[in-house]
């Protein structure tokens, strides 16, 4: 069954093999989907396709949804708060009702970003295949699930058949040795890795993240790491499940309980790469050498240590990259060799499927506590879900942020894709804990600097990009 005829199997091989409904030859498999998570913006045409072909959803009990892309993220929001949500939220609700699917609606206590609520509700499980019409579905890999994004046509296929036609990916493993230095977040670890390896390093691959620096992370932090696998070019990123994972899963709302959970854990313990597993590519990186990161350009690969210089296109590895860097510098209004420390910013966004979980908000609150947001900055803290929001409020984090002058928002994707009922103006500079600094993503002409939660919070306080070490 496995492609690894010589040597052992990887973690991904083991999960993959359990999901093959049929082998179609030439490496293409019909792959079963255990959990289908659906959001508001990429799903409407898939439901239209079902209607046109008069097809029912094959496994409604394995399908879950949340309206999270279009919704306003400001306090007091309703679905009427912006034009997009006024259209997409009722549409998702109608489609879900038609097919009898479970929706975590905008005002429900379970609402949130799909990649945040899947794990926290116990829907995402180790060894499960998780699919969503969203490229950051790889986030679920933090629990040892095989999660990946699909387009709208494939989304219709999953609704209709609970399966996909997939080619087994190449196997890649990135081992992080050492331990993160104080003040350095998992986000920094990954931005540094993407800058070193390139935004296409994982193309065609499933990446297993391993090593002591990964094992030491919480499940939430592992999700941040896996979330950014797609920014390395890999559709799939995951961490082998361990006791930390099993403790996280136990007692989640939809997770197995009792004897069923015991059986599941016994099964999940086998989900590790064999010692002689064959990887197409193996890379080792030193986590201890990573400094807090900030991006200077328009690709997540354009990341530098916060105290480092902006690179010079004259030093680019090839002509195409030199041109890309020149265009990025022009768009970002930066000069080669410049330091980003002290660069004034107008916006700070803390949230998203990358950094919208409780541990991220705690890291940001630790920086914000007892301080004030700079007068010229608008800073938004947006919990990734209602559960994150409740937990944060239970710990008084909302007061920390509000007292410091941050806005405490409502769950949703928000500023990550330039939505959420907030409009940034051309030329605005935003430090964002999201995952993409692409040209125009947060709005036409908006300049995005990606960073971790602590670095973003500090930028709000200082009114400029600054180094969390010693600040």
């Amino acid at each position: 069954m496995s492609t690894a005829e010589v040597g052992g199997r990887t973690l991904v091989d083991k999960i993959w093999d359990q999901h093959v409904v049929a082998e179609l030859g030439d490496g293409l498999d019909v792959l079963h989907v255990d959990r289908h998570l659906v959001h508001d913006v990429t799903s409407p045409q898939a439901f239209t396709t079902l209607a046109e072909r008069a097809v029912e959803v094959l496994s409604p009990e394995l399908t879950f949804g949340s309206p999270e892309h279009s919704v306003t993220i400001l306090s007091g929001r309703t679905e009427e708060s912006n034009d997009l949500s006024r259209k997409f939220v009722p549409l998702l609700r109608r489609n879900f009702a038609t097919h009898g699917l479970r929706l975590f609606d905008i005002d429900s206590p379970e609402h949130g970003i799909v990649h945040v609520i899947g794990p926290e509700l116990g829907l995402t499980l180790p060894g499960a295949t998780v699919v969503c019409g969203d490229s950051h579905t790889c986030t679920n890999g933090g629990l040892g699930a095989l999660g990946f994004g699909v387009g709208t046509s494939e989304l219709a296929l999953v609704l209709a058949t609970q399966s996909l036609l997939q080619r087994r990916p190449q196997m890649m493993r990135i081992t992080f040795t050492g331990a993160l230095a104080p003040g350095v977040e998992p986000k920094d670890l990954m931005l540094d890795a993407i800058a070193r390896l390139g935004a296409d390093a994982g193309a065609g691959c499933a990446i297993e993240f391993a090593g002591p620096a990964i094992v030491a992370l919480s499940v939430e932090q592992r999700m941040t790491v896996c979330n950014l696998a797609v920014e390395l070019g890999a559709k799939i990123g995951l961490v082998a499940p361990d006791d930390v994972t099993f403790d996280y899963v136990a007692n989640r709302r939809f997770a197995p309980t009792g004897a069923l959970l015991d059986d599941a854990i016994e099964h999940w313990r086998g989900l590790v790469s064999d010692p002689d597993a064959v990887f197409a590519r193996q890379i080792e990186l030193d986590a201890a050498a990573v400094a807090p990161q900030i991006t200077w350009g328009t690709s997540p690969a354009h990341s530098i240590p916060v105290d480092g210089p902006v690179p010079d296109p004259a030093q680019a590895p090839n002509e195409n990259t030199a041109r890309q860097w020149e265009q990025a510098l022009a768009y970002m209004d930066l000069q080669p060799g410049q330091s980003l420390e002290g660069l004034p910013v107008e916006w700070v966004f803390i949230g998203s499927c990358t950094n919208g979980r409780l541990s991220d908000l705690e890291a940001a609150a630790a920086v914000a506590r007892g301080r004030k947001v700079s007068g010229h900055v608008r800073a938004l803290v947006v919990p990734g879900s209602r559960a994150v929001q409740r937990a944060a409020e239970g710990r008084g984090l909302d007061r920390v942020f509000i007292d410091a002058g941050f806005e405490w928002g409502e769950p949703g994707c928000g500023l990550c894709p330039g939505l959420g009922g907030v409009t940034l103006e051309p030329g605005d500079r935003c430090v964002s804990t999201s995952n993409r600094n692409f040209v125009g993503r947060q709005g036409i002409g908006v300049r995005t600097h990606l960073a971790g939660a602590a670095t973003a919070a500090l930028a709000a306080i200082k009114g400029a990009i600054a180094d969390v070490r010693g600040n």
Partner: protein
Amino acid sequence: MDAFTVVRGPAAPLMLPDVNTDVISPGHTGKGSLALSAFAPIRYLPDGRDDPSFVLNRDRFRGAPILLAAQNFGCGSSRESAVWSLRALGIRCVIATSFGDIFFGNCFQNGVLPIVLDETVLGSLAAEAAEGAPVEVDLTASVVRSPLGARIPFTVDPLRRRQLLEGLDDLDAGLLRRDEIRAFQHADRALRPWIYQVSDAGTSLPLG
């Protein structure tokens, strides 16, 4: 879905690495249709006029059915509108040194052929095509014919190739397998019951 057999015409070189789907199909343009929004961040000047330095704004490449690109074309978001945007511009084939995985898959669902070529081979093809001379992409023979007549073979998954030639997407094939998939689920339920018994404990425990 439209079938793909032979496409012939100018091949526009957009030789930037990492052209992402937010650039191909931006969320914010104020431009309306997919055809007008496509590539907006690199296609228009700040005043809204066409940027003459953008390759598809050059007369010889307007309406070109083939796009030449560098590495990691279509990286980023899963949005299928990236492929719909290419179709709206009349593009049926993208030739690059590598692609974003999700975009690559989306192409086959929309009658667009993504071809991976070696950097050197792609470089020579781009040089030959630079003045707008027609390139021919022949999926029936799995070969690209350059303006000067060079024959460049390419590989594509046999099943994907057949689907494109016949104009079938995955849904057409998948619907025929629903019984097989139900049988898989029945057997799998005995092996991994926790996947199928999704019971609601009714309460959400606090995080942390």
